[in-house]
């Protein structure tokens, strides 16, 4: 019983505040940023290599379009590079970079609300979590399995696009990218309570949309 409570508190604390790994990561980033600010422009490539996959993943899950996500990710890195002299280290670099990317993405989505062309990326089934989920959903193999997975992806993308921009952002940052409530609140410039409320509401909508795939 006590062990369950401790485990629950651990999970709750992980969702509320940044983890020690994230804090260490922030310190490393700050060192690289100071090198860039001192004139070592090539050091910015380390930050690009470190965060390009995560930034692209967030932007892709918000836009559901690969080309748009690539452009917006590149623009986010360019803006960060141009503004890095003004970065004072008051927040972690990845929070600052996420904020730039998400603001650019939200601005883009507000300007292009009618866009409905989605692209699908291949699911990497070498990851144990995704493999377990797919095996739990279907026992098909081969081409039928691939068709089933693509259909599931399309339905999931449609359900995500039915969410509002803010709800989609919260779900993406928390469930897909694994950020804490506090980090999301910093990135979206809102309170932690707002983040929780949006997350709860967004999950309810997604569950209603994906009810056929849940058990």
């Amino acid at each position: 019983m006590v062990g369950c409570v401790l485990e629950a508190m651990k999970v709750l604390g992980k969702t509320l505040v940044a983890t020690p790994e994230r804090l260490r990561e922030a310190d490393d980033d700050w060192n690289v940023v100071r090198r860039v600010q001192a004139g070592e422009v090539a050091a910015f490539d380390q930050l690009i290599l470190k965060y390009r996959t995560r930034i692209f993943g967030v932007v892709y899950n918000l836009t559901s379009n690969r080309e748009d996500a690539a452009d917006l990710t590149q623009d986010a890195f360019i803006k960060a590079f141009q503004s890095i002299q003004r970065f004072q280290g008051q927040s972690s670099f990845f929070t600052w970079l996420y904020r730039i990317a998400i603001n650019a993405t939200l601005s883009y989505l507000r300007k292009n609300r009618t866009r409905s062309f989605f692209s699908l990326e291949r699911i990497d089934e070498s990851e144990p979590v995704s493999k377990e989920v797919i095996e739990a959903l279907t026992d098909k193999t081969g081409v039928e399995r691939d068709a089933y997975v693509r259909e599931l992806q399309e339905r999931l993308n449609e359900a995500m696009q039915k969410l509002s921009i803010n709800h989609r952002t919260v779900v993406t940052l928390f469930e897909i990218d694994g950020l804490s409530h506090q980090e999301i609140a910093e990135i979206m410039d809102c309170s932690v309570g707002t983040v929780r409320s949006r997350l709860h509401y967004a999950k309810q909508l997604l569950q209603a949309e994906m009810a056929a795939y849940l058990r």
């Binding site: 690009i48 993943g57 590149q74 360019i78 990497d124 995704s130 849940l214 058990r215």
Partner: protein, 284 residues
């Protein structure tokens, strides 16, 4: 679908599938190429000046009260300085408008110097008021006859406009000086001048209100006696001893004689008239 023996699948599990989505091979190399090109363009291009100012707007909006108070304070200080400097406004008289065309550095010069230049440039000599030379720096006005010492040249320079303003009970602001200069060099008798000065011709009667201000201003040529009067007075002094003794060349007798005798006749009769203390002789 799988049988019910499999573990339950939640919405969180489905969302984890999205975490496993990966772009195709070769995507990141293309991504890096495009990013490098954009980075070079961003380094080369010159950002417009207002981009840095645009970043200040959110910070200003976040603190409206201090920003508004600071803006009001700055406007008040600027307005007060503008009022004190007495900068001439557009639409005043032509000489001031001409003075406004000069560079801003020249506005720091003394007003008498500006007035002298304006008078020299804009008014003909026959319209030159008597008060205007006194405004020029070459003709200083003395504060009082007692304090003046023209012999050694150490007379105290007194700004006539300041003296006038002090006498009228006003502060001798530079705007007042400009107004005085304008009045001095502008023919107020004309309705055009009144319109230039005040913009409303119907609201200003040039000949009544401001004529009194120009009363001491006289034409210097009008104040000079013609040379013929002096010559006649000298001749009459010889002809009429009583008038000469009095020394009044403008007596009734001399006036009558002047009216009767022309210059030619006076010249001819000089040798025929003689006068002494007790007699008067005429040669024929």
């Amino acid at each position: 679908m799988k049988s019910d023996r499999n573990p339950p699948v939640s919405i969180e599990n489905l969302l984890q599938l999205k975490r496993a989505e990966r772009p195709p091979a070769g995507f990141w190399s293309e991504f890096d190429k495009e990013l490098r090109a954009k980075q070079l363009v961003a380094i080369m291009e010159r950002r417009p000046w207002w981009v840095s100012w645009r970043r200040l707007i959110p910070a200003l909006v976040r603190h409206p009260l201090p920003v508004g108070a600071a803006a009001a304070l700055v406007l008040s200080v600027l307005g007060f300085q503008h009022f004190r400097s007495g900068a001439p406004r557009a639409g005043v008289t032509a000489p001031v408008a001409a003075a406004e065309k000069t560079p801003a550095v020249e506005t720091e010069r003394s007003v008498p110097a500006m007035a002298a230049e304006v008078v020299a440039a804009s008014s003909p000599s026959n319209r030159l008021p008597a008060a205007v030379p006194a405004l020029a720096p070459s003709a200083p006005v003395q504060a009082s006859p007692g304090t003046a010492n023209p012999g050694n040249g150490t007379s105290e320079r007194v700004d006539p406009v300041a003296a006038l303003a002090e006498a009228a009970g006003f502060a001798p602001a530079s705007s007042l000086r400009l107004v005085a200069v304008n009045f001095a060099v502008t023919p107020l008798d004309s309705p055009e001048a009144a319109r230039n000065l005040f913009g409303q011709p119907s609201a200003f009667v040039a000949g009544n209100h401001f004529q009194s201000m120009r009363a001491p201003v006289l034409d210097p040529l009008a104040r000079m006696a013609p040379p013929s009067n002096e010559r006649r007075a000298r001749i009459l002094a010889e002809v009429v001893p009583a008038a000469a003794a009095v020394g009044d060349a403008t007596s009734v007798l001399s006036d009558r004689l002047i009216r009767r005798l022309s210059d030619e006749r006076l010249d001819e009769s000089i040798s025929r008239y003689g006068a002494s203390a007790d007699r008067f002789s005429v040669k024929f």
